[in-house]
């Protein structure tokens, strides 16, 4: 019905009709999908939650004399970064912690500062300390480097997250008799609380469940700047069971994303400490959905009530890799504040900020309306639900 080219022409003229993934629900409810598809050009989505497979790579420029950090070691604000590249490139992962962090030795560990926090400090424009050690070569004689760095002086600072934006996620509960501390937060014993982590009806991949409008090369809102979908994310698992509306009933698709950290904002990349678990980074992502036809609108208008996920025990089933769900619940139930599991009313908590997801969808809407943000044609699709692509468990084999 419409092409991305036609939508872009309207965006350039400032005539595009852009609504958020919440607003489209209301619009389709009032006018029907056919009418909404004619009126609307773009639906914006958003999500703001902890995403551990995030990190950034940097090129700090060559010192005089030169040093080959590559193959050596380096730390930024005491947090180790990966140096297995050329001379002055390194990658800092969100979950990295300082060598002297007490970790979980005094349980539950606090994990006060790590990679996620360093990325937040860098994007905030704060100076950070680089300490590097190298073995020295004829062409790179220097063995030690200690300097302050600031993002504005780096050659490249690029956020490159290998798995973000999970299409749906488990609800975590604890069936055991003691408190447990997980990446899904603190879980009180005997079904004391149920924690979820998805923006539901605002979440990017839930609003295009079969990845029909997005793919490799799709331009997105990333950390307050412009980014792109680089690839499907690790653990991409499109073949999980789906409801009639196409929405997966368990964690499914993921995306790898990339973008210039220099344009991003600290508000949308926040270092995070999960008690007893570790450090991570909260990432803000918004994906625009071009309204190509009535079908796109139908998917984009799926409501919290119709998005389901599984309740999983994180005291035993999750750590021991035992498949199974205690209950299937929808996001409207989760957002009501309590769900029912095994006949018990369980209070819910969210790790993903719905209000921030809403802010992201609104911000992206503004960018597109102002004509600042054109949509892109994907250059390759993500592995589709019928592609046979799956997420496999590790089969261990003895080393002989």
């Amino acid at each position: 019905m419409k092409s991305i080219k036609e939508i872009n022409a309207k965006i350039k003229k400032g005539e595009a009709v852009v609504v958020t993934a919440e607003e489209i629900i209301d619009l389709v409810g009032r006018k029907g999908a056919k009418k909404a598809a004619q009126e609307v050009d773009v639906v914006t989505t958003g999500t703001f939650g902890p995403m551990c497979s995030s990190g950034a790579y940097f090129n700090v420029g060559h010192s005089k004399p030169r040093i080959k950090i590559g193959g050596g070691s380096c730390k930024v604000n005491d947090v180790p970064a990966y140096t297995g590249f050329a001379a002055v490139d390194f990658y800092l992962g969100a979950t990295a912690v300082p060598d002297d962090d007490p970790l979980n030795k005094v349980f539950p560990g606090e994990f006060k500062y790590g990679g996620g926090h360093v990325i937040h400090d860098i994007v905030s424009g704060r100076d950070v300390r680089l300490e590097a050690a190298a073995y020295g070569t004829d062409c790179y004689p220097r063995k030690k480097l200690e300097t302050l760095l600031n993002i504005k002086n780096l050659n490249e600072a690029v956020l490159f997250n290998i798995r973000n934006c999970y299409q749906n996620y488990n609800v975590a509960v604890n069936l055991s008799d003691k408190m447990i501390y997980t990446y899904m937060g603190a879980l009180k014993p005997r079904l004391g609380n149920a924690n979820y982590c998805s923006a539901g009806q605002l979440s990017p991949l839930l609003k295009d469940p079969y990845y029909k409008t997005l793919g490799v090369g799709t331009k997105i809102f990333l950390g307050g700047g412009v980014g792109y979908i680089a690839w499907h994310g690790t653990q991409h698992n499109p073949a999980v069971k789906r409801k009639e509306n196409g929405a997966p009933q368990a964690p499914a698709g993921t995306i790898a994303v990339i973008g210039d950290l220099k344009q991003m904002k600290p508000e949308w990349l926040v270092g995070t400490s999960m008690l007893g678990y570790g450090v991570t980074l909260i990432v803000g992502i918004g994906v625009p959905i071009p309204v190509l036809d009535e079908e796109t609108v139908k998917y984009a208008a799926i409501r919290d009530e119709d998005l389901y996920t599984q309740v999983v025990d994180y005291s035993e089933a999750y750590p021991q890799m035992v498949a199974g769900s205690l209950a299937e619940v929808n996001y409207a139930q989760l957002k009501s504040g309590t769900i029912t599991v095994r006949g018990k009313q369980v209070p819910t908590g969210s790790l993903s900020s719905y209000s921030k997801a809403r802010d992201i969808a609104e911000e992206l809407k503004l960018w597109i309306r102002k004509g600042d943000f054109l949509l892109t044609e994907p250059v390759a699709p993500l592995p589709q639900a019928d592609s046979g692509y799956t997420f496999k468990a590790l089969k261990e084999r003895p080393i002989v």
Partner: protein, 135 residues
């Protein structure tokens, strides 16, 4: 000299008795009444800021307790750093008194510090450590 803020709960039987003046007379503590009320047939509640030497403070509190006054630390010991809070809601099911709730419309987290009992459970579980203890 250090000051501390505490909440005093007076049982019904103590409401008509002079008690707090002794903190000045016997224990050399200055007090500033931040809040006080008596509910008929129920109890008296008073929020005091006490300033004085550490051991006098300790003795003063012991005196109050010996009279039957129940003492509780003040909720404002725990504050929310708005610039750090992302309104995720991880704290909500952890809070035992319902002082942290999600607004159903805005989906922002509301902190009712009058309901907070300063148990500090939210402090370490907050992913961005936005809940801070004020000393």
């Amino acid at each position: 000299m250090p000051s501390k803020r505490i909440v005093l709960h007076f049982p019904h039987r103590l409401v008509d008795q002079p008690i707090v003046y002794k903190l000045v007379k016997e224990y050399d503590l200055q007090f500033n009444i931040l809040k006080a009320y008596v509910t008929p047939q129920e109890e008296g509640l008073m929020v005091l800021e006490l300033t004085g030497k550490e051991d006098n403070f300790k003795k003063g509190v012991e005196y109050l307790q010996s009279c039957g006054v129940r003492i509780q630390p003040l909720s404002q010991d725990v504050i929310r750093n708005q610039s750090k809070c992302t309104d995720c809601g991880a704290c909500v099911p952890i809070c035992p008194t319902g002082a942290l709730v999600v607004d159903p419309i805005t989906r922002k987290v509301l902190f009712y510090d009058n309901k907070c009992i300063a148990c500090e459970l939210c402090v370490k579980i907050c992913p961005t450590r936005a809940m801070e203890v004020r000393f």
